[in-house]
Symmetry: C2
Subunit: 319 residues, 2 copies
């Protein structure tokens, strides 16, 4: 974080025509923007990046939708027909979709590691391409049939606790699919348990391409001074790999919302992160984070656009 930018932001904040602290989290957000960009709070080039991947474990019937939906939805993103397209259009957010070898699902983690080392590292590096367009606010989302199963396995591996508490209904599982999902998670944990003290091994063995790419994008954003808004349960599982390596690794990240997937709030609480919105969403695609980006835009504009007490001729608080 940039101490000078924080200092300047606080100095101006105190002069704006409002009672001190009355914009609540908006004031925290504008400070966060200043801290990580090293300049006055502004959002000029917000960019949503959606990473799409396919998962071997989907063949175990862990989702309510068939695996071909991942590619179909990627086409829907390209055609402008998905929820994330509408939210980006509403708030003037850029949108980039990265298809991650959709025709080659990862290996089924109940039978072996999801990815070999080369694939995992290369996909993390590829995720860093999210910064290529030089966004000044990066919003991270994903698409991948089966990936709440992946997020559940990773969350259980990273945070511990009863695997059952990490497994939710995803896109809308019935009881049978829920049982298969839990079984897959338990099997994956049993198989890889002895080898996952390294968080990157959690990502490689139990994760998937879009999770590796998101982790890479979050890392790259840090070095390039770009604040990040993380979306839901799956995006948070990717971020948690970095947090597990270094609890300060996500200080440049805002958690945009808490999803309806029950493991999400548990993961956020484990990391001490307070989500901005709670709207009962569970779609992914970056939709919750993109809504949060609207609030971030407003926070920046309040800070930069408001008049000072002196400019407006407004009397200050009596001391």
């Amino acid at each position: 974080p940039d101490r000078k930018a924080i200092h300047d932001k606080r100095h101006r904040e105190a002069e704006l025509t409002k009672p001190a602290g009355s914009l609540g989290r908006l004031e925290e957000i504008s400070e966060w923007l200043a801290a990580w960009t090293g300049r006055p709070p502004a959002v000029n080039r917000p960019m949503v990046v959606v990473f799409a991947g396919n998962h071997g474990v989907a063949q175990k019937g862990v989702s309510a939708f068939p695996p071909e939906v991942t590619a179909q939805m990627a086409a829907n993103f390209a055609a402008g027909g998905a929820a994330i397209n509408q939210i980006c259009a509403t708030f003037d957010l850029g949108l980039k979709v990265f298809d991650l070898a959709l025709e080659v699902p990862t290996a089924d983690f109940t039978e072996g590691p999801a990815m070999d080392e080369r694939t995992c590292v290369a996909t993390m590096a590829y995720g860093m391409e999210a910064l290529a367009g030089e966004p000044d606010l990066l919003i991270i989302g994903e698409m991948g049939i089966g990936n709440t199963t992946v997020a559940a396995a990773m969350s259980a591996a990273l945070f511990g606790g009863d695997p059952k508490t990490w497994v939710g209904r995803g896109t809308g599982n019935d009881a049978e699919a829920m049982a298969r999902k839990l079984e897959a998670v338990e099997k994956g944990l049993a198989l890889h348990g002895p080898h996952i003290s390294d968080p990157l091994e959690v990502l490689r063995r139990l994760g998937g391409r879009e999770l590796a790419a998101m982790a890479g994008a979050i890392l790259a954003a840090r070095t390039q001074r770009v604040p990040v808004i993380v979306d839901g349960y799956v995006a948070t599982a990717a971020a948690a790999v970095l947090w597990k390596m270094d609890p300060g690794a996500l200080d440049h990240c805002l958690f945009g919302h808490v999803s309806a997937e029950p493991g999400h709030i548990r993961a956020l609480e484990a990391m001490g992160k307070i989500p901005l919105l709670a709207l009962g969403m569970r779609l992914g695609e970056g939709t919750g984070a993109a809504l949060a980006a609207a609030i971030v835009k407003a926070a920046a504009r309040c800070h930069s656009g408001m008049a000072t007490f002196e400019q407006a001729g407004v009397a200050e608080k009596a001391e």
Copy 2:
């Protein structure tokens, strides 16, 4: 509510390319828009109206800011320098400010009724002018030094309970101002207590011009099929007058946020209303409701703009 519009909305919702229910409150919001406008969900002319009034009770030293700040802030709204101006600019919301006889404060409610009957009724009628620009979404806010004292007195009168639980720090009171504020509320309740079984008498005796105008605007919106977003503690106190007369009177209203003022969540809970946002704000001006309007715009656009499963060639959930 329009049954046909609700039916049509649900029919289309089920065909959109996402798991059923996965947009959470966004799906409730688009249904609410359809229900109260009688057409497919859309936000084409959102309008923020800010009513400003002055209060006799402010002379009792109940606020951290002097009463002249109300008019100074009204000038700041006109010049585009306030927080609400920035939020409206961020989300393309119209903004209209109504100055309500700022040079003539209401009477001090610790000594007599704040308004006579004619002033109260005429101001409610004037508030109905908020609909003159034919908005299709009305966002209601206020400005008035001393008006959290008014809201506290009204909330205590309408909902009961220990007056202390309705009194908060407002713009940032110190302990002395807090004591004066509580004393004023208790004095007002003691003086008017025998005469306030009629909610409109609560508004007239303990309220203020901007509260009467907000109540009028909310009423008029109902008859003109315009959904309303209510802002914080003060706006909610105005709305509560209508709720107390008829618990269904606010069904066309969304409560945009819960403010940091401690009485606000109590009032919302008493009416069974669940706020959309919780950002720790306590500024008024319609700022919390205007942020909520951004979410409402996105909800409408998701519903109207998304592709159906058939259009996008996306496989539906296996049954």
